[in-house]
């Protein structure tokens, strides 16, 4: 009982400290809100079933009209680049905190808040479309929240046979007779792609995106909002590939490479879609993504 006054003074001291930092004009960290705007060119996409009259329709460079009923992708490995070039990673090795599934059917998933970003001015954002190979193993014990979010019945972003995550899942319809489009991407890679010492087989569908901000995002007293536009017009009419969807006619032969099957659920023909969505890592490091705005 004798010691209680000491605790009291200690508490008072701490309270004073806390209130001091609140008064401070320069907080050490604040949030950045990312907003994903999924579009066809400049029009935000509205999803719809085969015969929907409200779904946003788009016409590809090759003249194929199409729209989506489902649009999902995984964002992870987020890094912010300060004006001086120093890279600030955001939980890049923790999918529970640093990854999310953007799902056009769930408005709340279009916003992802980066918490406690160090106060600074940022000139670039980098992120991954998909999950980098070393984390892409469906480790439920390690990342139970992301595993559950991605695996939910209305999300279906587990690629079971690949024992990894789906990186994008696009369902929709094309042409006037509403033929199905089903584009699933994900990795099947074993080892490191491009490294002959470790690479054994498969396709790495992870793509690293780098976007330069038109004006610096200034984290400090304010929490900036960065709108990232994802233009799905580029799925078929991309910077790397101009794709014509051609329904499979059957047969035992591998398909003609000049066209693409509208049903991609494995590594077959997947890369041309992956490169359009996420770039090829060299000549194109933005894919469908661009910065809509940075609001400080």
């Amino acid at each position: 009982m004798k010691k209680q006054p000491n605790y009291l003074s200690l508490s008072l001291f701490l309270l004073v400290m806390v209130s001091c930092s609140k008064d401070n004009d320069n907080p050490v960290a604040n949030n950045i809100a990312l907003h994903f705007n999924n579009t066809f060119k400049n029009t935000t996409i509205v999803l719809g079933d085969a015969t929907s009259s409200t779904a946003t329709a788009n016409t590809s460079a090759e003249g194929q009209i199409h729209h989506f009923s489902e649009l999902k992708y995984v964002i992870s490995n987020i890094r912010l680049i300060k004006a001086d070039g120093i890279e600030i990673p955001y939980h890049i090795n923790n999918l529970d905190q640093g990854a999310t599934v953007v799902n056009q059917a769930k408005p709340q998933t279009l916003d992802f808040v980066l918490r406690n970003v160090p106060a600074s001015e940022y000139k670039q954002i980098k992120f991954g479309l998909g999950v980098k190979p070393e984390l892409n193993i469906l480790d439920e014990a390690r990342f139970p929240n992301f595993y559950a979010e991605a695996g939910a019945n209305d999300t279906e972003m587990h690629w079971e046979w690949g024992a990894g995550y789906r990186f994008t899942k696009l369902e929709g319809f094309y042409d006037s007779d509403h033929k199905e489009i089903s584009i699933h991407t994900g990795s099947t890679v074993e080892g490191t792609n491009g490294d002959p010492d470790t690479y054994t087989q498969g396709v790495d569908a992870y793509r690293d995106i780098t976007l330069t901000l038109p004006n610096h995002a200034i984290v400090g007293r304010n929490a900036p909002k960065i709108t990232i536009k994802a233009d799905f017009d580029k799925l078929l009419s991309g910077k790397i590939n101009t794709i014509t969807l051609k329904s499979k006619t059957g047969g035992n032969s591998h398909s003609d490479d000049s066209n693409a099957t509208p049903n991609v659920t494995s590594a077959v023909q997947m890369v041309k879609f992956v490169d359009n969505l996420g770039g090829n890592g060299s000549s194109d490091i933005t894919g469908i993504f661009s910065i809509g705005s940075v609001a400080n």
Binding site: L138, D139, E140, A141, P144, Y147, G151, H158, E160, W161, G162, A163, S182, T188, E190, T200, Q201, G202, V203, K248, G250, G251, N252, S253, H254, S255, D257, T261, N263, T265, S266, A267, V268, Q269, M270, V271
Partner: protein, 340 residues
């Protein structure tokens, strides 16, 4: 003050008790199981050395292999499709999982996996430890999750005991589940067929039919079904009837390489007598149907196997040759393996 001391001593006693329990748990005789590599078999998959089967690791793996709580509704275990009496395959056309859901492909047998470089029809898995998760989470198979499985089994004494004996403590982790199942599977070696006994000169001989079949087999089958595993572990398009599912692309499903379209891993022919029907989605009800198909001619394709292309897309076989080859193939049946 005295009371405090008494209470502290009481806790100290408790602590020391539990410490003693722990130290009693750690040493356990858990010897490695010698794999007894059969003569002429190819080298072990590199993963075996990192996960050598132990007495309790394999025993635990066997128990897990037969655990129906691996499935969402506790109806399907690994052994439901991988049935020992069928050389750890089954007789369904395509695998049947939870709630009667039909999978994409025919169940592959589990035997001699320690010597395989690739697993499954398309070789998507290269290390056996990475396989058990796939059926657990797949919608058409067990439709569960690894943490759900652990929640269901973690309080059971027998499991705690086996995990402790196999791994040193009672922690049930995903990795330990995968490793113990792989250990059990590594021990499933089939090399005691009549063929093996003839080869080892154990006083048995082929019948006339079997011997003729063996000679024909060496000419007409062994380009692909080679080595003592009776597979060269290559991927080939042999022009079999096509799986209508848009998900099927054979080896190309994994590699994305157009030339791998509808190529499948050449299956081992050991114990094939027990694993009808045949083909990646059970296209053929009998061995005879497979041979008839090759004789009549297969589907053409750009990437049809060169051996077939050079022979007019077929393997010509006489009636006698077919009968002889089947007689020979049945000498690859290991009745002790399937009856254990």
């Amino acid at each position: 003050m005295r009371q405090v001391l008494v209470i502290i001593s009481f806790f100290l006693v408790l602590l020391s008790c539990s410490r003693d329990d722990v130290s009693e748990q750690i040493p356990y005789d858990n010897p490695e199981i010698p794999l007894g590599i059969p003569h002429g078999f190819p080298p072990l998959n590199g993963s075996v050395n990192g996960n050598k089967p132990t007495r309790y690791g394999a025993e635990l793996g066997k128990k897990l292999f037969h655990e129906k709580r691996f499935s969402g509704n506790n109806t399907i275990s690994c052994a439901s499709c991988h049935n020992r009496s069928k050389a750890f395959a089954d007789n369904n056309i395509q695998a049947i999982g939870i709630n009667g859901r039909v999978g994409l492909r025919n169940t592959p047998p589990i035997q001699n996996l320690a010597f395989m470089k690739f697993y499954n029809w398309d070789g998507n898995i290269l290390q056996l430890e990475k396989q058990p998760l796939v059926p657990i989470i797949t919608h058409e198979e067990m439709n569960s999750s690894i943490l759900e499985v652990i929640r269901k089994i973690r309080d059971e004494y027998e499991y705690k005991d086996l995990f402790r004996k196999a791994f040193g403590d009672e922690d049930i982790t995903p990795d330990r589940i995968y490793r113990s199942i792989a250990q059990y599977e590594y021990t499933l070696i089939s090399a005691n067929s009549k063929y093996d006994r003839v080869k080892r000169d154990k006083g048995e001989t082929f019948t006339e039919n079997e011997e003729r079949g063996y000679q024909t087999f060496k000419i007409k089958c062994a380009s692909c079904h080679s080595t003592e595993l009776f597979t060269d572990q290559s991927f080939r398009n042999v022009g079999f009837p096509l799986n209508p599912s848009a998900e099927e692309a054979g080896r190309a499903r994994v590699t994305g390489i157009a030339a791998d379209f509808m190529r499948f891993r050449v299956p081992s022919l050991r114990n094939v007598e027990y694993t009808a029907p045949y083909g990646s989605f059970g296209q053929f009800p009998t061995l005879r149907a497979v041979l008839d198909y090759f004789d009549n001619g297969v589907l053409d394709a750009d990437n049809l196997d060169p051996i077939l292309k050079e022979n007019g897309n077929r393997i010509p076989l006489t009636e006698q040759e077919k009968q002889d080859i089947i007689s020979f193939i049945k000498t690859l049946s290991d009745s002790t393996f399937v009856r254990k």
